[in-house]
Symmetry: C2
Subunit: 412 residues, 2 copies
């Protein structure tokens, strides 16, 4: 007997028919003698409809009311899933965020989880192995008693946090792909599904553009040590594939140096030419951007060709590009740069692997391979277990395939 959390995303519960299919996966786990909590997203498309109404109501809508409106989507799915499970003869009931309760901070629209009280759900497990069908994405603030949401994709985070709160043996994330791949199979047909990947690597992949799991859910899984599977809800419920296990590095016997290649098109580059090279100039540039909630990612500073000034290059999310440009143009006098250059047709390609810690020269091999293909590198950042390069977007596929082959990730 195990205790597990099963999470189903929007496409897996898009219609009542699909909810019935997802329920067959739940029945399999229940029939195997497990204690099961289910976490559901809103039916695919519903959240967008609700968000559109909020925007129609006001261009500057109150985030607390937004949370009230959009959380209704998960409420519908959890009720329907409970009905379907009961129809199959299984004991089940729905739980909203405020009923569990799952506590969230008062940062409406992107609340941080403050805690999960699993007592009510555990009582149901003890009584008759009642299946707890929980609305993902939502919680309640313990001080205002208002509904909060965890931001888009927050149902993954709900599921992992609930698994931690219930001390579950594992968390299964059912989605429309059957696991985590070495890179996007749509770009590299030779991409391989991994059996296992470490928390640290998955965290980098999620941060660097892989859309399989939400970053915060991986953080919580890592900190709370929740073994988490990514698997497909469209598998045969009687005979499903195991998917990919995200687990402790120590539980992975045969470790690759590089385990995956991620890429993100959501990057824009800004370069400030011939900035006066004096103390405080970095603060003058990046302070205002931080104040405006613009996330700066890669930063490179090099001495200009005149040897007296410096060139500063960095990236921001594409959505913030225009705002960041305007902000820097407004501060032209303070910062004293000669020219501001920018590009949005760029892509960030990253290679991830905990093996990099103990192997030197991993990144250098990549720079050489990309150069041989005539791909110009605009910027580089590295960390302990990954490196990223910024290149022209036109070379995305070529660069990803080149690195995928280089590190021996291609399927046989």
């Amino acid at each position: 007997m195990a205790r597990l959390v099963m999470k189903f995303g929007g496409t897996s519960v898009a219609t009542v028919e699909r909810i019935k299919n997802a329920a067959r996966h739940v029945k399999r786990e229940f029939d195997a003698g497990n204690q099961v909590a289910v976490v559901v997203s809103a039916m695919s498309g519903k959240t967008n409809e609700l968000v559109a109404w909020c925007k129609e109501a006001s261009s500057v809508y109150d985030q607390a009311e937004y949370d009230t409106v959009v959380a209704s989507g998960e409420q519908v799915t959890s009720g329907l899933m409970a009905i379907v499970l009961q129809e199959m003869g299984l004991p089940a009931r729905s739980w909203q965020g405020w009923q569990i309760p799952l506590y969230g901070s008062d940062a409406h629209g992107s609340a941080r989880i403050e805690g999960v009280d699993g007592a009510g759900i555990l009582a149901g497990f003890d009584r008759n192995r009642e299946i707890a069908v929980c609305s993902g994405f939502q919680g309640v603030n313990p001080r205002s008693h208002r509904i909060v949401t965890l931001g888009r994709g927050g149902s993954d985070t709900s599921a992992v946090a609930l698994a931690a709160g219930l001390k579950a043996d594992r968390c299964d994330i059912y989605t429309d792909v059957d696991g985590v791949y070495t890179t996007d199979p749509r770009i590299v047909p030779k991409a391989r599904r991994m059996d296992k990947v470490s928390f640290e690597e998955m965290l980098e992949m999620a941060s660097l553009g892989s859309k399989v799991l939400q970053v915060r859910s991986v953080e919580i899984a890592m900190v709370q040590r929740v073994p988490t599977y990514v698997r497909s809800s469209f598998d045969d419920p009687e005979n499903p594939n195991p998917g990919t296990l995200i687990c402790d590095e120590d539980d992975i016997v045969e470790q690759q140096i590089v385990t995956g290649i991620a890429f993100s098109r959501d990057e824009a580059q800004i370069t400030l030419r011939r900035v006066a090279d004096k103390p405080g100039v970095a603060a003058a540039i990046f302070g205002p951007l931080a104040d405006a909630n613009i996330n700066v990612d890669m930063i490179i500073q090099v001495v200009s060709d005149d040897q007296a000034t410096t060139d500063i290059t960095f990236t921001v999310p594409t959505a913030d590009y225009e705002r960041a440009r305007k902000l820097l143009e407004d501060r032209h006098n303070d910062i004293a740069y000669q020219a501001l250059q920018g590009a949005t047709d760029v892509v960030k390609i990253s290679a991830i692997g905990v093996g990099m810690r103990s192997h030197a020269g991993v990144a250098a091999r990549a720079f050489r391979a990309l150069a041989e293909k005539g791909i110009n590198i605009r910027a580089i950042t590295t960390s302990e277990i990954k490196f990223s390069v910024l290149i022209d977007a036109a070379y995305t596929e070529l660069a990803v395939r080149t690195l995928h082959s280089l590190y021996g990730l291609d399927a046989a």
Copy 2:
């Protein structure tokens, strides 16, 4: 300064555009210096969509889960209305049933209101006259902490109960008609909008087929003495009509003998011929019907033409007609009747007026007038302030118009 509850039904909040229109009515009352609580229904059509999903999930869905699913409709509207009011510069926030809290019994799907705790809303009034936008139709059970709903049309009941709980000066029910009419204007073009109608009369009208207000809302208004207006949300928000006031009989100066004519097509007639006229026969017939939750309305018993047996006629809701027939046929031996006859093409026409208490012969005039038009009366029931006749459905319009004229209700 007054304290008031304003309720908007599904057609009044069917789109964001209509919510904005309803909000202009709220703004008018707020700008006049009033403390305002708003009660909203789900956007028109939403509840039907949610109910259809429940039915698709299971033909015998759990009522507690049904409540969870359908209550989401009002949650969306209350959030959107709060956003719209804030956009207009008004202080506002949404309240779900469990947040107010409005307590309901555990009869899921048709919960009885057990109480309303207005402390949170009143604190908002005191702080900055914050407008409380409450989800109608829903509450929370104080013992299970689960969402309950009050049954279809329950938002009227929510509004009146909230007005009582907040000790409001009045409750305004905004709907798609501009008041309560002497009868259905679609049938009698000369129907008049009443300025005032007594609680007792409104209760009879709602019970007897008028669809303007839900019966339970009128009961609560009557018991708690909440002056209630029925008025139109489609009036010009700057210059609205006052609508119809439902109030104490004593507050109506010029009382008519008959104030309104109602009719209901939701009736079916069953007649048992030549039932053995012995003690306990009524119990043998109506006991099983009550056990089967079939509501029997009009009952007439007359001695048969053979002077030794009795004929018993009664009406049931059309939806229960087949079930009632089958139940009585199964008990043919117990009840010992000679024949069972039935009809569904019948209509119940009722005249209502507190003036009947002090005026004799009011019903007799109706019987004569209907006879003169060649309309056959199948059954009659009377009470202190109303009488009803059952006739062939083909004569509905003629009978309603005849009585409307007879009692002087036609507009000049």
